[in-house]
C-alpha cells in the first residue's frame, strides 16, 4: 500500500473545500425549509381563494336580479307619482322631502331635471308626503337593521295609522269628548249683532 504524503497546503485546501460544502449544506437546507413553509402557506391561500371564487360566483347574478326588481319598483312608483301629482308637483314633493333631489330628477322623466321645483310640502297633506316618501324609503326587507319599517307589508293599515298623531289606533280607554254645539251647549257665545241684518254696503268706487 502506497501512502502519499499530503503537504500542509493540501490539508488547508481540503479544509477550505469542506467549509464551503458545510456552508452550502446549511444555507441550502434552511432555504429548502423556508420554501416548504411558503408552499404550505400558498396551498392554504389557494384553498381559501377557491372558496371565495365559489361563494362569490352567484353574487353577480343575484345582485343584478335584485337591482332589476328594484328598478321596476322605482319606475312604477315614479310613474305613479308623476301620473297622480303631475310632473311639476311630483318634483316639488320629492324636493320637499329630500332638499336638492330635484336636480337629479326622475330616471324615466329626463325633462324633470329642468322643472323648477315648487315648495309643495306646505300644500300637500302628510299622507301624500308619506306616499311620496314610500317610493324612496320603502324597506326591502322586514328585518331592516335601521329600525322598524315605515311600511309593514303584512300590516300596512296599522302602519299607516301609526304615522299620524291621532291616538285612536292605540285603543285608549277614554277619548276627549266631541264638542257640543247648539242652543243648549255648555259654552254659549254672544250673538253677533249683524247676523240677520241687511248687508252693509261699501262706499262706491270712484271711476
Amino acid at each position: 500500500m502506497t501512502v502519499y504524503a499530503i503537504p500542509a497546503a493540501g490539508w488547508v485546501l481540503i479544509l477550505a473545500v469542506l467549509l464551503i460544502v458545510l456552508a452550502l449544506v446549511y444555507y441550502l437546507v434552511s432555504t429548502i425549509f423556508a420554501l416548504r413553509k411558503i408552499t404550505t402557506g400558498l396551498d392554504e391561500v389557494i384553498g381559501s381563494v377557491t372558496e371565495i371564487v365559489q361563494k362569490s360566483a352567484p353574487v353577480n347574478d343575484v345582485v343584478n336580479a335584485i337591482n332589476k326588481d328594484l328598478d321596476a319598483g322605482v319606475d312604477m312608483l315614479e310613474a305613479l307619482l308623476v301620473k297622480k301629482a303631475g310632473l311639476v308637483d311630483a318634483v316639488g314633493l320629492v324636493d320637499g322631502l329630500y332638499p336638492g333631489a330635484a336636480a337629479a330628477g326622475f330616471r324615466n322623466f329626463p325633462e324633470s331635471t329642468k322643472v323648477d321645483a315648487p315648495r309643495i310640502s306646505e300644500v300637500y297633506t302628510k299622507g301624500t308626503l308619506t306616499l311620496a316618501r314610500l317610493g324612496r324609503e320603502a324597506p326591502i326587507a322586514i328585518g331592516n337593521p335601521a329600525g322598524p319599517a315605515l311600511r309593514n307589508v303584512t300590516a300596512a293599515s296599522l302602519s299607516a295609522k301609526v304615522l299620524y298623531s291621532d291616538v285612536r289606533h292605540t285603543g285608549p280607554e277614554r277619548l276627549p269628548r266631541s264638542p257640543v254645539i247648539g242652543t243648549d251647549s255648555p259654552v254659549q257665545y254672544e250673538q253677533r249683532e249683524d247676523v240677520g241684518q241687511p248687508r252693509k254696503r261699501m262706499p262706491a268706487r270712484n271711476p
Binding site: P7, S56, K83, G86
Partner: protein
C-alpha cells in the same frame, strides 16, 4: 507549492465569504416571504368566511321580489282610487 498556498488563500479569503454572503441573502429573502404568506393566508380565510353571508342574498332577492310585488299591488290600488293630475295646457 506556492501556487497551492495562493489558491488556498483565495479560497478562504475570497470564495468562501462570497458563497456565504450569497447563500445568506437567499435564505433571508426566502424567510422574509413566510410572514407575508401567513398574513395572506389569514386574510384569504377571513375573506372566505365573510362571504358565508353571500348565500343570504338569495333570501334578500326573494324578499325584494315579494316587496316589489306588494308595492306594485299597492300602486295599482292607488292608481284606481286616486285621481290623475289635471293636465295643464
Amino acid at each position: 507549492m506556492t501556487l497551492l498556498w495562493i489558491g488556498d488563500a483565495l479560497l478562504i479569503v475570497v470564495v468562501l465569504p462570497i458563497v456565504i454572503y450569497l447563500l445568506n441573502a437567499t435564505l433571508k429573502a426566502a424567510q422574509s416571504i413566510v410572514p407575508s404568506v401567513r398574513s395572506i393566508t389569514a386574510t384569504a380565510a377571513a375573506g372566505s368566511k365573510d362571504l358565508d353571508a353571500a348565500a343570504l342574498l338569495l333570501t334578500t332577492q326573494d324578499q325584494v321580489s315579494r316587496t316589489v310585488a306588494g308595492v306594485a299591488d299597492y300602486g295599482g290600488s292607488l292608481d284606481v282610487i286616486v285621481d290623475d293630475a289635471e293636465v295643464v295646457s
